[in-house]
Structure formats: structure tokens, C-alpha cells
């Protein structure tokens, strides 16, 4: 056995011949000879020795193409992609070695995938006999979503054990050079199940793959940026990698997209009762939340305890906090674009969840196989009846109830056309023991038509209608009233995408027609002291056009340049009041009013919004990113509370309220380590906000027909640094982020006493300088995982009464400057144990249990401070902790 000699030779001293043997050219006469025979020939007519085992070289022969090449090159080519390689010893011995590592690696890979019970498909391309060992063959194919059969762009295809990787095109196609032989080809796409195909590739051919969305329970909601790689994505676009991190402790067992966004770097919230979130020092109204292309104004249930989106119905969500693409506009701080799930085109599925507060169910499947699919989900609380059973204080007199429902019907007209209808409804009822009941609801419907002109061009037309309304009813005899507010917003958008070489263009137009019924109050009993009042309906039109180009200048430098032109017109019917010049705006300085007829423009604003971002890859594993965006916002949340409350007033820009203008500059450095096992990023931003509105001290905003007398215009600025580290693989996975950011406002008025805090900069309601989020998941075994999250935030600013004196025997209270004080710092630890069903593919029900503990050490985090007037007429500050104890919950999720 010559191989044993090879080992022995290692001890022989080095002799002087150069490696001329490998420089020897392959003669034309060698063509067609088996490699072993040829090597024996060489051994015969030179002083060289060749050591090998015959079987190893059985299938190799000298092809015509090798003629004229050196022996060294020829051997390298022949053995490429196989587990055989050669070395040369002391210049006269060629030792052909079967790489034990290669074989071991393959065996190990096979064992590992068997261990994980992953399914490996076996395929063969070409006949084994036809093998031309050492040749490189071309593997082509398409990667599709196994359910919707939509092509998947940016999916990864690679050959296990080699460095050969390809990424799919927007049409889902790929082409990969593969060494002929037995190979494992792996297909990967974020949030989809990995697919491994064991292929005997003996000639160029096609290999297609349908990937299935990760079916594990809870892995439903994935928040990703536009691109999956930390290094490649644009600045400010977050890739949460929730695929790994989703099994987090959930508040009362409810998986919540908004709550997941609240733990991302640069995002804060002011407390449990706030479904709104603050992005980089911006207000809660500065986030554009889209559900299948239509805006959502109130994204919460039960005053913010839960988000209004059933995670079962959400396919994915993209979040932009900086470098916002030109396609989006109208809100200055961030974009959360949620797409609902589409039904399966082949089979029917059901899934659902049972939690202590609500339950949900979703059904999806084909109406017409491969052509039409439907997805329907429904979630409802059942807390109301439980509230009724509680005999404590007058808790049983209060009521809480909510539901949300989502429907999506999609129909394919051939390969290139698709029509989708989406419907979404959400409704809440909250009754207080004191006879007051709140209702609020959102309803949207949208129709999308997608058309693919070619592999390079596609277009989408969206027609949508949205409506948000609320009602507050008091059934007291002397205080009875019924207050109603409604906002409707038909939406239209068309966009066109074109991919040409290194450019990707996106252009389109959009418009929204706002109709606001700002308030209508009527007494509900004949003896009610409430005066009926109605504020006239307001209408306005927002129109925008956008164009952007993503340009891959070099392999390492990509820029995305865009612009958006937006215009806004407040329309009649309406009345504009005028006030004495040189006097503060108030009811006492009102002098005149002008009425506008229906459809007549009252005031028009227009804005040019440049957008730019750039990614420069320093190495394949690190990059620097820059971003700038300017955005105009024409609709404002007039609120005197810190979070979105259901009775907030959305007010569009008008004669007095100019559009908010936000400018944001951001820069970041991103690095991934150990082939994406770790990634690291540091991002900085500076944001300037113009024309923000803040209320005057002591002003009234509810049912105020002249809101201009209650609000002052100011500027805002925010800046900060966000630092984050993620560990993406292994038994222990997790992320840690720390943000230092400040957010300030300045409101100056020419009239003394009107300026807030004497016209100085003051912290905004959500200025929380230090924020730490830490989430982790530790796989105890394949079915059990232990997850947790820890959050720390500086307490948010508040305004307090702090001292008093007596004047004319009446207490006079001194209030602090606006936002001079802070509530105590917020911190909380949540833990959960996730027990998944067995991972067998064929089973009736795939279920999992989540046992979670929210607020493990029962910290009484302060949500807000309010004051109650005591018997001496003094307003005494009280702090309200929404959750002052540990909250355990058990929920069950299933899929059939």
C-alpha cells in the first residue's frame, strides 16, 4: 500500500531536485488515459515516485483540455471539489491523499443535519457514469416561497464545505459554479426553513427549491430591515433577527410587534400603557405605521396594553428609523411597514393561540388551487366576562373588550399579475365604573394590483380606505354626554420599479384625502349640564411624487439617492379666525373670521424632501453607512398626554399650523465577526424638527374650535449614539443595546409669559437619555428554551407642583418648569420558558407552550404622575404604576 509509504517518507531528508515534475506539461498523447495509468507512466519515465491507491483515481481521466497544462495545474483541476488532493515531498514524490478532514466534515455535516432532523432531499443531475471528475459544472435554478410560489430575492445558495455561494436575483434565480460530484447544496432565506439537497451533480443542470416559512410557533413575526445583512443594509434600517430572538417573554402571553420594536436601539416608550413608540427623540405621532400600505392611527388595544396587530396575521414588518427611502413620507421620524400574511396556494392550514387575555385563530388556504388564496384571522379578548366576576371594589362595573380581524384574498392572473384585497378591523371598548365608556376603532381596506412587466420591471397600484374613530359616552344624569371623533383617509398610490444594471429605480405618486370630524358632543339626558357642541368637519389633500435610485457604484460602494415632492392643501368648508396683530392669540383678541366654501383651498404647503444614503464596505465584514433625510409631516397629534391615547386629536395642517419638517443625519459603523456569529454596530444621529406643536400652559384642547389659541409652535432637536451587539448563532443567542440620546424642544413666543420655560430648550416628554435593552434565548434542549429580556430607561420628564403659599387665604401653587422633574428610572426583567412540540414533520397539531413572567422582581415602575386636589385645595402629586407586581402567564399556540 503506497499510502503507508507516504507516511514513512515524511522522515526522509529533503533532497535537491526542484519540483520540476509538477512543471512537466501534459502531452497530447495522454488524452483519454485514466489518471492512474498516466501517473504510472510518469513514474516510469522519470525519477519520481507517485503514491496513491488505485480505487481513489478510478473515475479520473485526462481530458483533452488539460493538454499543455502543467501536471500540477492538471492535478489541481482534476481534484477540485473532491476530497482528494496531492502534495509533493522532497521534490520527487507525488503523494495523492484522500483528505480525511473533507470526508469527516461531510460525515459530520450529515450527522448534524440528521441530528437536527432536517430533511435532506436527494437528487441527481446527469448520469453518474458520465462523470467528468474535476470539472466544474453550472448549477442554475429558482428559489420560491413554497406557499405563495413568489420568487425569493436575496436568498443564499451555497455548497457545503466550499466557499461557493450565490445570491438570488429579484426574480429568485441563481447560477452557481459547482465541482462535479456528490455535494450538499444549501438554500437559505431569512425566516424560512433551510433546505438541504444532497445532489449528485455530474453535469450542468437545474435545481429549484421551494422554501417554507419557518413553521415554528411564535416564529411568525419577523421584523427585518430591507436587507438582511447588518453589513449591507442601509443606515437606520434595523434587522432585528427575530427569527432567532422571537421566543421572548410576552406581556400576558400576547406576542406584540410594537413591544418588540420598543426594545430596538434608538426606540423608547414611556411605559406599559403606551402602544406608541418614540424613535430617536421624535413624538409618537411621527411614526408612519402602514398595514398593507394604509396608515394606522391608533395601534393599540386597551389604552396601549396590547398592540392592535395580531401577530398571527403578520407576515413581516420593515422598520426604518433613519435614511428613510423616498417612497415613504408624511411622518418625520420613522416608518413601520407591516405586511399581512397571504394564504397558502396549495393546502389549508389553521393556527391559533390561547392566552389569558385573548385568543386568536387563523385559517388559510387555497380557494382555487395555485390561483386564489385566502387568509383570515380573528382575535378577541374575553376579559370582559372575567371582569364581571370580580367582586372587588367596583371592578365588576368596569369592562374591557377588544377584537381585531384581518382578511387577505389574493388572486394570480398568470405569472405576472396579482390582485390582492386586504381588510382589517380593530375595535375596543373600555368602560369605567364611573359610567364613562370609551370606544375606538380602526377599519381599513385596500386593493393592490401587482404587475410584472419583465424580470427587471414591476409595478404596484394601491387603492385604500382607512377610518379611525372614537366615542366617549357618559351615562351620568347630570353629566351625561356623548362625544364623537372621526378621521377618514382614502389613499391612492402607484409605484414603478426598474432594475437596470447597477441601478434600481423606484418612482411613483401617492395621495391621501383626509376628512376629520374633530368633535361632536351632545348631552344624553334632559337634565345634563353638558352643552351640545359640534366642530365643523375639516378636509385636506396630501399629494406626493417620488423618485429614487439605488446605484451600486462599485462592489464596495452603494448609494441610494432619492427625492420626494409633497404638497398639502387644507380645503373648505372652513372658517379661519383672525386675531389682533401684536397680541397673543386668544378668544379675547379674536377680531374677524373668513369662511371658505366647500372644496376651496384655505392654505397650501409644499415641500421638497431630499433623501440620501450610502454604504461603503471596508471589508466584506465591515461597513460605514451614511444617511440623510428630510420629511414633511402634515398631520399632528394634539395631545396633552405622553403616549397615544384613544381620545387624542389628530389635526391636519391649516392656516395656523404649518407642516412639521424633520431633518435627520445619521452615520454608522457595522461589523460582523466569525461569519455572522456576532455582529456589532454603532450609529449616531442628529435630528432637527421644525414647527412642532406644544400646548400652552393651562390650555384646553378637547372640543376647542380655535385650537390655535391652545398651541404654540416650536422647534425640536435630538441627538444620540446607539450601540448594539448581537450573537446570532449557538445555544445562547441574544442582543444587547445601549443608547445615549437626548431630545429637546424650544417654544418661543413674542408675547411675555407665553413662551414655555421662558423660551429656553427643555427636555421633551420622552427624553430618556440612557436606555439599555438586553434580550437572550438559551436553548436548554431542542424543545425547551429559556428566554429573557431586561430593559432599563431613564425616567421620563414630568411637570410637578412643588410648593405653595397663601394669597388672600387661598393656596397659590407653584408648578415647576415644563418637564423639569423626572419619574424614577424604569427597569424591568422578564423571563419565559418556551416548550415546543416535537419537531416531527408529520403530526396533527404543532403546539407550543409559553410560560412567562413579566416584571420578575415586581418593580413598581412609574407610568405617570398626576395630582389630586386635597382638602386644603392643594394639588398633591401621585405616581401611578400600571404594573406593580410580577405578572405570570401561560399561553398555548398551535398550528394544524
Amino acid at each position: 500500500m503506497k499510502i503507508f509509504t507516504a507516511g514513512f517518507l515524511l522522515t526522509i531528508a529533503f533532497s535537491a531536485h526542484s519540483q520540476s515534475i509538477l512543471d512537466r506539461k501534459v502531452e497530447a498523447s495522454a488524452t483519454g488515459k485514466p489518471l492512474s495509468a498516466y501517473l504510472m507512466e510518469i513514474e516510469g519515465d522519470s525519477e519520481c515516485k507517485v503514491f496513491f491507491i488505485d480505487q481513489w483515481l478510478e473515475s479520473f481521466q485526462i481530458e483533452e483540455g488539460y493538454v499543455g497544462m502543467t501536471l500540477g495545474e492538471t492535478l489541481r483541476k482534476i481534484f477540485e471539489g473532491t476530497d482528494i488532493y496531492f502534495t509533493i515531498f522532497y521534490d520527487y514524490a507525488i503523494v495523492i491523499v484522500k483528505d480525511p478532514n473533507q470526508t469527516l466534515a461531510k460525515t459530520r455535516f450529515l450527522q448534524s443535519i440528521r441530528g437536527e432532523k432536517k430533511k435532506v432531499e436527494t437528487k441527481s443531475i446527469g448520469a453518474k457514469g458520465k462523470i467528468k471528475p474535476g470539472t466544474i459544472v453550472q448549477l442554475t435554478g429558482t428559489v420560491k416561497d413554497g406557499k405563495t410560489l413568489d420568487p425569493l430575492a436575496n436568498a443564499t445558495v451555497y455548497v457545503e464545505g466550499t466557499t461557493r455561494v450565490a445570491t438570488t436575483s429579484p426574480g429568485g434565480t441563481f447560477s452557481l459554479a459547482v465541482p462535479a460530484g456528490e455535494q450538499f447544496v444549501v438554500f437559505r432565506f431569512a425566516n424560512y426553513e433551510e433546505k438541504i439537497v444532497s445532489v449528485g451533480i455530474y453535469e450542468s443542470g437545474e435545481l429549484n427549491a421551494d422554501l417554507m416559512e419557518t413553521p415554528k410557533v411564535l416564529d411568525e413575526v419577523v421584523v427585518t430591515g430591507r436587507q438582511s445583512s447588518v453589513v449591507n443594509g442601509n443606515v437606520g434600517q434595523i434587522d432585528l433577527k427575530l427569527a432567532q430572538l422571537k421566543k421572548l417573554p410576552a406581556f400576558l402571553g400576547e406576542v406584540d410587534i410594537i413591544k418588540q420594536i420598543q426594545v430596538m436601539p434608538g426606540v423608547t416608550s414611556v411605559g406599559e400603557m403606551s402602544s406608541g413608540f418614540n424613535v430617536r427623540g421624535g413624538g409618537v405621532d411621527q411614526n408612519l405605521v402602514l398595514y398593507d400600505g394604509v396608515q394606522i392611527f391608533n395601534n393599540s388595544h386597551v389604552f396601549g396594553f396590547f398592540s392592535a396587530f395580531n401577530s398571527e396575521a403578520v407576515r413581516n414588518a420593515s422598520f426604518f428609523k433613519g435614511g428613510i427611502p423616498a417612497e415613504y413620507g408624511g411622518r418625520v421620524s420613522s416608518v413601520l411597514n407591516i405586511s399581512s400574511k397571504e394564504g397558502d396556494y396549495k393546502k389549508w392550514f389553521a393556527s391559533g393561540g390561547i392566552g389569558p387575555i385573548s385568543s386568536n385563530i387563523a385559517l388559510n388556504g387555497p380557494i382555487n388551487k395555485d390561483k386564489t388564496s385566502i387568509f383570515a384571522s380573528f382575535r378577541s379578548s374575553y376579559s370582559d366576562w372575567m371582569v364581571k366576576t370580580i367582586q372587588y371594589s367596583n371592578v365588576d362595573k368596569s369592562s374591557v373588550a377588544f377584537y381585531d380581524a384581518s382578511l387577505k384574498v389574493a388572486h394570480k392572473f398568470g405569472e405576472n399579475d396579482k390582485l390582492t384585497l386586504t381588510g382589517y378591523a380593530s375595535r375596543d371598548k373600555f368602560g369605567l365604573p364611573s359610567d364613562t365608556t370609551f370606544w375606538w376603532q380602526t377599519r381599513i381596506a385596500s386593493l393592490h394590483y401587482d404587475h410584472r412587466f419583465s424580470e427587471r420591471a414591476f409595478s404596484t397600484i394601491t387603492l385604500g380606505y382607512g377610518e379611525y374613530s372614537y366615542e366617549v359616552k357618559d351615562n351620568g344624569t347630570s353629566t351625561g354626554y356623548d362625544l364623537k371623533y372621526a378621521l377618514s383617509y382614502p389613499t391612492f398610490k402607484v409605484d414603478y420599479n426598474y432594475h437596470a444594471g447597477k441601478h434600481r429605480f423606484n418612482t411613483g405618486i401617492s395621495s391621501i384625502w383626509y376628512g376629520i370630524t374633530p368633535g361632536n358632543i351632545v348631552p344624553t339626558s334632559p337634565v345634563s349640564n353638558v352643552k351640545p357642541q359640534s366642530i365643523a368637519r375639516q378636509q385636506s389633500l396630501e399629494v406626493a411624487a417620488f423618485l429614487s435610485d439605488e446605484f451600486e457604484i462599485t462592489e464596495n460602494l452603494r448609494i441610494d439617492l432619492g427625492a420626494r415632492i409633497s404638497s398639502f392643501t387644507a380645503m373648505g368648508p372652513g372658517k379661519v379666525y383672525s386675531y389682533q396683530s401684536g397680541q397673543p392669540i386668544s378668544s379675547s383678541t379674536m377680531v374677524d373670521s373668513i369662511s371658505y366654501a366647500s372644496g376651496k383651498p384655505i392654505k397650501t404647503y409644499a415641500g421638497f424632501e431630499p433623501r440620501a444614503s450610502a454604504v461603503y464596505k471596508i471589508t466584506p465584514f465591515s461597513s460605514i453607512k451614511l444617511g440623510y433625510n428630510r420629511i414633511y409631516q402634515f398631520i399632528h397629534l394634539i395631545s396633552n398626554s405622553v403616549s397615544i391615547s384613544p381620545i387624542d386629536i389628530w389635526q391636519s395642517s391649516n392656516y395656523y399650523f404649518k407642516p412639521q419638517i424633520g431633518d435627520q443625519y445619521s452615520v454608522g459603523y457595522f461589523k460582523s465577526l466569525k461569519s455572522n456569529q456576532f455582529d456589532f454596530s454603532i450609529e449616531g444621529f442628529y435630528k432637527h424638527l421644525n414647527n412642532i406643536l406644544d400646548f400652552k400652559d393651562g390650555s384646553n384642547i378637547v372640543l376647542n374650535p380655535t385650537l390655535e389659541d391652545a398651541l404654540l409652535r416650536g422647534v425640536g432637536k435630538a441627538y444620540g449614539v446607539e450601540f448594539s451587539v448581537n450573537k446570532n448563532t449557538g445555544r445562547l443567542q441574544g442582543s444587547f443595546n445601549y443608547t445615549y440620546a437626548r431630545s429637546f424642544r424650544q417654544v418661543q413666543s413674542p408675547f411675555p409669559g407665553e413662551s414655555i420655560n421662558s423660551g429656553n430648550w427643555y427636555p421633551s416628554n420622552y427624553d430618556q437619555p440612557n436606555v439599555v435593552n438586553f434580550t437572550w434565548r438559551y436553548a436548554l434542549s431542542r424543545r425547551f428554551s429559556f428566554t429573557g429580556n431586561f430593559t432599563y430607561r431613564t425616567g421620563r420628564p414630568i411637570t410637578l407642583p412643588y410648593s405653595y403659599g397663601y394669597l388672600s387665604n387661598m393656596p397659590i401653587v407653584n408648578f415647576s418648569d415644563r418637564n423639569e422633574f423626572r419619574v424614577p428610572d424604569y427597569h424591568r426583567l422578564d423571563l419565559a420558558l418556551v416548550i415546543e412540540g416535537n419537531h416531527r414533520r408529520k403530526k396533527l397539531v404543532d403546539g407550543s407552550w409559553i410560560i412567562s413572567f413579566y416584571n420578575v422582581y415586581a418593580r413598581k415602575n412609574v407610568y405617570s404622575v398626576f395630582y389630586k386636589t386635597n382638602q386644603y385645595g392643594l394639588p398633591i402629586p401621585y405616581q401611578l404604576s400600571i404594573i406593580g407586581t410580577v405578572l405570570p402567564s401561560v399561553s398555548y399556540r398551535f398550528r394544524i
Partner: protein
């Protein structure tokens, strides 16, 4: 289902409210200055104190002593006020004259100086009529009537002079007599083991006239010095005319006060003094702000009220914040005495309170007023 119920319980009981503690270091010191010159004979008083922390609502304001207070008029006269009791500075000879403007300067011992904007003393109209009407909201015999929702609504009709431009400021003070039984006071004694109810022994304060004798009993040694008290109440919200409701030269049926009719307020009678004052536009605006602050309702989503300042400003650098006013007003007063017999039913006897009478109400004094 038990588990689910338990969880709901938890959710509903988890939220909690507790007082927000403001650290002493978080207070801002502040001055409170109050003074009024009228067309009535002096002396007039300027009171200077410091603000109290909001949670210290039973504490008494700290007087600012040793300040130099000077009053000036627009004729070039000035007079330094004398501190006759801590924080109370009195004029000597000056007399408020119609049409004159007045202002004060204050210099505190720490070197801070303050000044008020000049206020012109303008005349005020006459009170034409004071009316009262009894409102019976509850059956006076179903409860002990220590407090009651029954009482008198007091309204007035008044003349408004053109110079007042529709602005009128009212204030009132009401006095009533109460009687308590401090000799019945008891104290709890420790016992081992503790018993329920705890053991008590008589503990009359010496002012009750009873003292303990050597044998462990009690003897009366004099008359009670803390059984009779006169309690003074004031309006808790500024009372201002609404210029929109000032019909020509008069206001009519202007609500002034609600005098609660209970066993204490009508143990004897209720003496109500109503002052009608003239005031400048800036003082009117100041009281309006105060009123707004006081009536700001308590709810989770309230806005901070407008800051009240008054017409006194600091004139030296580094001076602490000041809230207060120095006003000049003409005063027209009216006295209304409501008798026990004015209550349309027989008021029950006063309740038996085993305590010193001064502790029952905030402004409670054992000194009989001169008008009683």
C-alpha cells in the same frame, strides 16, 4: 378557569397609586408677598413669607422677618412699613386716596429686592342687595349632620361703575361658633396582651379646666378655655365678575358663597362679611389665572396649569422667585348674619367632640371676635 380568573384579578389589581415623593433638594425657594391698600382707613398690611413644600400642607408658612418694605405713591410720597409681628409689615400714616397709584419695594435681609408695578386706586360700586336661599339637598334627619350638603346660596346684586370696566372682585369671610368637650378626651394605654378594643383612660387637657387629682380621679379646677371656638372660613376660589355678564352698570344674582348648614356652622349663627373690591386689569387677569389653576380638574391627562405670577417682580440678580401682588382697591362691604332659625328645620344639637376646639378647623380661635 380558576387560573384565568386569578390572572385577571392580578391585572386589575396590579396598577397602584402612591404619593410621589419630592426630595427636599428638588424644591425651589420662593417668596410670597401680599399687600393691599384701600380707600378705608389704615393701617394696611404687607405679608411676606416663604413658599411651603407641596407635601407639607399642614405646616405654617415661614415668615420673612427683617425686610425693608417701602410704599410709594405717584405724588412722590413714601413711607417705610413697620414689622409688628413676624412677616407682617404695617403702614403708619398713609391713607389710600382715590385716583392715586401705589407700589411697594421690598428688600429682604439676604439682599434680594422686589418691586410691584403701580396700581391705581379706583372707586367701586355699591352692593345693592344681598340675597340668600336655603337649598335642601338631603334629609337632615337621616344622618348626624356634622357635614351636610344643605345650606344657603348667597347671591348679590351690585352696582358697577364705568371706571371698573366690568371688573369686580369679591371675597368673603364667614365666622361661626363651635363647642367641644375636651374633658372627655381619652388616651389609649398599652396592655399586655393587647386587647380589642384597646384600653383607654381619661386624658383631659389642662385647658378643659379638669386636672387629675392625687387619687387618680379628676377634678374641675376652673372654666374651660378650649371649649368655645370661633372658626373663620374664606372663599377658596377667586370670585370675579364675568365682563360678558355685567349688564350695563350692574351685576345681578351674582353667586358669592354657599354656607353649609350643619350642626357646627349653625350651633349658633353664621356671620358672613362680603367685600366688593375694584381692581386693575392686570390684577383681574392674575386672579383669573389663580381661579383656573384651582379648578384644574384632576385626571391622568391633565395639562400643567398656567403659571401664576402676580404683579411683583424681582429687581436684583439671584433673587428667588416671587409670587404675589400689591393691589389698590376701593372696598364696599356688606354683613349678612344667618341665624340658626333661618334653617327651615330644627338643627340637631352639636356633636360631642372630645377634643380641643382649635384642632377641629384650620382657622379656629378661642378669641371671641369683636363683632360677636
Amino acid at each position: 378557569m380558576k387560573i384565568l380568573q386569578l390572572l385577571t384579578y392580578l391585572l386589575l389589581l396590579i396598577s397602584c397609586v402612591s404619593p410621589y415623593k419630592i426630595e427636599p433638594s428638588q424644591y425651589h425657594d420662593g417668596m410670597v408677598i401680599e399687600g393691599l391698600i384701600t380707600d378705608q382707613p389704615g393701617p394696611y398690611v404687607v405679608k411676606i413669607s416663604r413658599v411651603s413644600p407641596i407635601l407639607d400642607y399642614v405646616g405654617h408658612p415661614v415668615s420673612v422677618e427683617g425686610a425693608s418694605v417701602v410704599i410709594y405713591d405717584d405724588a412722590g410720597n413714601s413711607e417705610t412699613l413697620q414689622e409688628k409681628s413676624p412677616g407682617n409689615y404695617y403702614t403708619n400714616t398713609i391713607h389710600g386716596e382715590m385716583g392715586r397709584s401705589y407700589y411697594i419695594t421690598v428688600a429682604t435681609p439676604d439682599g434680594s429686592t422686589y418691586q410691584s408695578t403701580p396700581e391705581k386706586l379706583t372707586p367701586v360700586g355699591n352692593i345693592k342687595n344681598v340675597d340668600y336661599e336655603f337649598v335642601e339637598n338631603e334629609n337632615p334627619f337621616t344622618s348626624r349632620q356634622v357635614t351636610s350638603t344643605n345650606g344657603f346660596n348667597v347671591t348679590l346684586d351690585s352696582e358697577v361703575l364705568p371706571s371698573q370696566e366690568g371688573r369686580v372682585w369679591w371675597r368673603w369671610s364667614g365666622t361661626f361658633h363651635i363647642f367641644t368637650y375636651p374633658e372627655l378626651k381619652k388616651k389609649v394605654i398599652e396592655s399586655s396582651p393587647p386587647v380589642e378594643p384597646p384600653l383607654t383612660v381619661p386624658d383631659p387637657p389642662p385647658c378643659s379646666g379638669w386636672i387629675s387629682n392625687s387619687r387618680g380621679g379628676f377634678v374641675q379646677v376652673g372654666s374651660c378655655k378650649c371649649c368655645d371656638c370661633w372658626v373663620t372660613q374664606y372663599n377658596q376660589l377667586p370670585l370675579l365678575s364675568d365682563p360678558a355678564l355685567t349688564n350695563g352698570n350692574e351685576v345681578s344674582s351674582q353667586f358669592i358663597a354657599f354656607v353649609e348648614a350643619n350642626v357646627r356652622t349653625f350651633y349658633d349663627k353664621y356671620y358672613l362679611q362680603i367685600d366688593q373690591l375694584s381692581l386693575s386689569q392686570s390684577m383681574y387677569d392674575f386672579w383669573k389665572e389663580v381661579k383656573q389653576e384651582q379648578s384644574n380638574s384632576s385626571n391622568l391627562f391633565q395639562t400643567p396649569p398656567a403659571k401664576t405670577h402676580g404683579n411683583i417682580v424681582a429687581t436684583s440678580d439671584g433673587a428667588t422667585n416671587v409670587v404675589g401682588y400689591f393691589a389698590a382697591s376701593a372696598i364696599e362691604s356688606h354683613i349678612l348674619t344667618l341665624h340658626r332659625s333661618d334653617v327651615p328645620y330644627g338643627v340637631q344639637p352639636i356633636d360631642t367632640t372630645a377634643n380641643v376646639c382649635t384642632t377641629l378647623y384650620k382657622n379656629s380661635s378661642t378669641t371671641k371676635p369683636i363683632f360677636w
